[in-house]
């Protein structure tokens, strides 16, 4: 919309209550900058937040927004976008919210391919409920509810997305501000469901998946000659057990979003009749 929009216009006047140093600060800043940079403003933007520390993001941002129930943010976002395709819809939540209670919706949101972006703040722990294992926690990661570790392999969200027919899969890191913003921007610009798994460290409960760990281990695909449109290459990357990647892992450039396949182009909030719509009596005649 207007070119004067600054990313701070997306900031609410609520001070975040996240722990000092929490990865979610950087994740949110990048999201706001990406929204402003892609030409959006708070009045045409709809943010759907999940439940968790990560889900608080809706409160700290300024836009039309809803803070959903645990795990169900994706269908809400899809409903908003279908009912008014003019809106820029962004869904955000945590790894517990998205891959545990909401895992079913994740698979279906991916295959539905509604034109919206989904940012998951992956800290590999449950933050808000004070440090239990999450679906992305390591097999031997000790927590209050799993003293010997979950003893089951973590969910691989990137592979799950690819297997479900994702048209855009990316991974980013909240403390690499520029790359993070750039990656979220690409997800927004993608014609379809733009999925970004963001490593967003929890400094209070996770002493394994730390800033240092990600800084040292992440391989930035931008620094390689990786081609994100190559699905075979993407398969290899998302299943790579030895390395973790930052950047766009897969993008289908021919992606046709749900709204287009289903002919949705009107703002359904508008009802231009005070009574039944024109032609409604035909509905009755059909029953002769």
């Amino acid at each position: 919309m207007s070119s004067q929009v600054r990313f701070t216009d997306f900031k609410s006047d609520k001070q975040p209550t996240w722990c000092p140093g929490c990865g979610d600060f950087g994740t949110m800043n990048g999201m706001m900058k990406a929204l402003a940079e892609t030409g959006n403003d708070p009045d045409n933007t709809f943010v759907v937040a999940g439940i968790g520390c990560s889900g608080k993001i809706g409160t700290y941002m300024h836009s039309y927004a809803i803070h959903g129930v645990h795990g169900r943010a994706l269908p809400v976002g899809a409903g908003v976008k279908m009912a008014n395709p003019d809106l820029e819809v962004m869904v955000a939540g945590g790894d517990g919210d998205g891959y545990s209670i909401g895992a079913g919706h994740f698979v279906h949101a991916v295959r539905r391919n509604v034109d919206m972006s989904y940012v998951v703040m992956d800290n590999r722990i449950y933050g808000l409920t004070k440090g239990q294992a999450s679906p992305t926690s390591r097999e031997d990661f000790e927590t209050s509810t799993t003293p010997e570790g979950p003893q089951q392999p973590p969910v691989n969200p990137l592979a799950l997305a690819l297997a479900s027919g994702a048209t855009f899969i990316a991974q980013s890191f909240s403390s690499d501000a520029l790359r993070h913003q750039e990656i979220v921007q690409k997800a927004i610009e993608h014609d379809g469901f733009g999925f970004v798994n963001v490593f967003s460290p929890c400094v209070t409960f996770n002493d394994v998946d730390t800033y240092d760990y990600f800084r040292d281990s992440l391989v930035d695909l931008a620094e390689t000659d990786y081609d994100p449109t190559d699905r075979e290459a993407a398969k290899e990357k998302v299943l790579d057990a030895d390395k973790e990647y930052m950047g766009v892992l897969y993008q289908d450039e021919d992606s046709v979003p749900y709204e287009e396949t289903h002919g949705l182009d009107s703002n359904m909030s508008e009802i231009d009749h005070d009574g039944a719509p024109e032609g409604a009596m035909d509905l009755v005649r059909e029953f002769y």
Binding site: A65, I66, A78, N267, S269
Partner: protein, 589 residues
């Protein structure tokens, strides 16, 4: 009693029972006769007994009865299952050539019409048309002009091409002629008079879907479940012509959340399900209410708990719709009482949802949802539909609802409890909605004062609605009678028919049928004026009876049916008589 006629076709699921029954019902309706259909179906697709019953009269018919005049039996079980309803002179049409039917015995006194359905169908072009041959035979047995059947065959098979329609017409003729030639002396004195009236024939699910479109619903998300699926089937393929969309969600949790999204975007949105789906939706229901989102949720009730009896009638979810969800949630619960009311209550549900910014439950039930009934088309007069979107603000009016710093107040504390609403895209309206307790701007708060203010504000909407809306029950029977019968949902039609039986026995009753479960009319005066009050409902514990006892502080008597079958008029009349006569109360008989 109007001279009504009862017909059924029964066989195994997969035999095409439903579509055949519907063709006949439509033919009757087109011939200007009233029709009331009912289904006996089991929860399986192939195999398992199933029947489609048609009751028809030149006068209005409102319920099922225990009588069958003509039965098309595709299996021996069809005869066994309906033995109680058959009587002397009942006609049984069957195909004695079919192995399973070769040695059935038609009871004495009944008219035995053994028609080679399959062979005749093959003559007309294919065995698949054997049910249509039976329809032709049924026309002959009832002196019903076969041309009415032609028009409904055309409606049913028109899409498949003229040749298919002609073959079917031919199949019907062969059935008709076979009976003429082979049973010239059969005593078939069922004359189905026709009239010039034009009726439409539809069921409750269809009426709900039609009501939704009439009300400007644009967005529907659902997950298939018996007996609510027909709402989705109806909307799909129709709502698109009106700029709307249907999405089949991955489950009911997604369905209600999709619908919530649609509603937050400003679209009139709806979801429909049955009891198990309502269970899954309950958590989000609380969010819908707290975020003050207008949403229509249809529960087409079936026998519970758990998977219960998925294809059988019950009104067991009332407590859940009234009280379901943690915390305290203001809501509306409307219960349509007839197929026609399914339409009007759906329209009203959308208006109430938007005027009061609350979720609205539409408590329908299986007996009404799958039952087709005839109506004059004017019953669904589209010109009478009104749309009220409530307190929607736009760019120009939004300033009146902003804080000094320009923040919009979607939960403004108002006298009537209703706050302004801004659709996304409205400049200056950006705000957060949340299930967390919040201040006027929608921002989380645990401030004790604000908490109380917001709870009171939301609850105040109910008081406002009571002042502004009419929640009166529908009345039938004798307004001065000492005995009061109270009911809700689809029992209304049966009760209205039961009046005639009660009248025959000189039992006068006044009937109040309550389409508003919450908020509802106060019945204290009516209860005090009555000698006896009886609440009739299809559940075991008397959920509505509990509610009215609580309201009026007066004990009521209860008639409950929970065997999975809806009430029948004569049976209900007898039970009412007995209930009124209990405790030594005198009932003149």
């Amino acid at each position: 009693m109007p001279a009504d006629f009862n017909w059924a076709i029964g066989g195994e699921a997969g035999d095409g029972i439903d579509s055949t029954g519907k063709i006949f019902a439509q033919a009757l309706s087109r011939a200007g006769r009233h029709v009331f259909t009912s289904k006996d179906f089991a929860s399986r697709i192939r195999g398992g007994y199933t029947a489609y019953k048609v009751r028809t009269s030149t006068e209005k018919v409102r319920s099922v009865v225990d009588r069958l005049d003509v039965l098309v039996a595709l299996t021996p079980r069809t005869i066994e299952e309906n033995m109680d309803e058959l009587h002397e002179g009942s006609v049984i049409i069957y195909d004695g050539d079919r192995t399973t039917m070769s040695d059935v015995e038609i009871p004495d006194g009944m008219v035995d019409l053994d028609v080679p359905l399959k062979a005749l169908a093959e003559d007309a072009g294919g065995a698949i048309m054997r049910n249509v041959v039976a329809l032709g035979a049924a026309c002959e047995a009832t002196s019903f002009d076969i041309e009415h059947l032609d028009s409904s065959l055309k409606k049913r098979f028109g899409d498949k091409g003229q040749a298919i329609v002609e073959n079917n017409k031919q199949a019907a003729r062969l059935g008709q002629e076979y009976v003429q030639e082979n049973y010239p002396d059969a005593d078939l004195d069922y004359d189905l008079d026709t009239t010039d009236n034009d009726y439409v024939l539809l069921n409750g699910d269809e009426a709900i879907g039609m009501g939704a479109i009439a009300a400007g619903c644009k967005f529907y998300a659902g997950y298939p479940i018996t007996p609510a699926t027909d709402v989705m089937t109806y909307l799909k393929g129709r709502i698109e012509h009106f700029g709307g969309h249907v999405v089949q969600a991955e489950d009911e949790l997604a369905a209600i959340n999709l619908a919530l999204g649609g509603a937050r975007a400003g679209a009139r949105s709806m979801t429909a399900t049955s009891g198990p789906g309502i269970d899954l939706m309950t958590e989000t229901f609380g969010l819908v209410a707290t975020s003050e989102t207008p949403l229509v949720i249809v529960d087409v009730m079936r026998s519970g708990p758990s998977t219960g009896m998925p294809t059988k009638q019950e009104q067991g979810d009332l407590n859940m719709m009234l009280y379901g969800g943690h915390g305290e949630i203001p809501r509306f619960v409307l219960a349509p009482t007839t197929v026609e009311e399914c339409f009007w209550k759906t329209v009203e549900a959308f208006n109430l949802a938007e005027k009061y910014q609350t979720p609205v439950y539409l408590a329908a039930d299986l007996a009404m949802a799958v039952t087709e009934q005839t109506f004059e088309p004017e019953a669904f007069d589209m010109d009478a539909v009104e749309i009220d979107r409530g307190k929607v603000v736009d760019e120009d009016t939004i300033e009146d609802h902003q804080t000094e710093s320009g923040g919009f107040k979607p939960h403004e504390i108002t006298e009537d409890g209703i706050s302004p609403r801004a659709f996304p895209g409205t400049a200056g309206g950006a705000h957060m909605s949340t299930g967390l307790e919040h201040d006027e701007q929608g921002r989380r708060t645990e401030d004790t004062e604000m908490r109380v203010k917001q709870v009171d504000k939301r609850n105040r909407k109910v008081e406002t609605a009571k002042e502004r809306e009419d929640f009166s029950p529908r009345e039938f029977g004798d307004a001065d009678a000492d005995n009061l019968i109270v009911t809700w949902g689809s029992n209304e039609g049966t009760l209205v028919e039961a009046l005639e039986y009660l009248d025959d026995d000189d039992v006068d009753v006044r009937i109040l049928s309550c389409p508003y479960i919450f908020p509802r009319a106060d019945l204290t005066e009516e209860f005090e004026a009555a000698d006896q009050v009886v609440v009739v409902e299809c559940n075991a514990t008397g959920q509505f009876a509990d509610v009215v006892e609580h309201d009026t502080l007066q004990r009521v008597k209860r008639i409950n049916k929970y065997d999975g079958v809806q009430f029948k008029a004569d049976e209900l009349a007898a039970e009412i008589k007995e209930t009124l006569a209990a405790d030594g109360q005198e009932v003149e008989a």
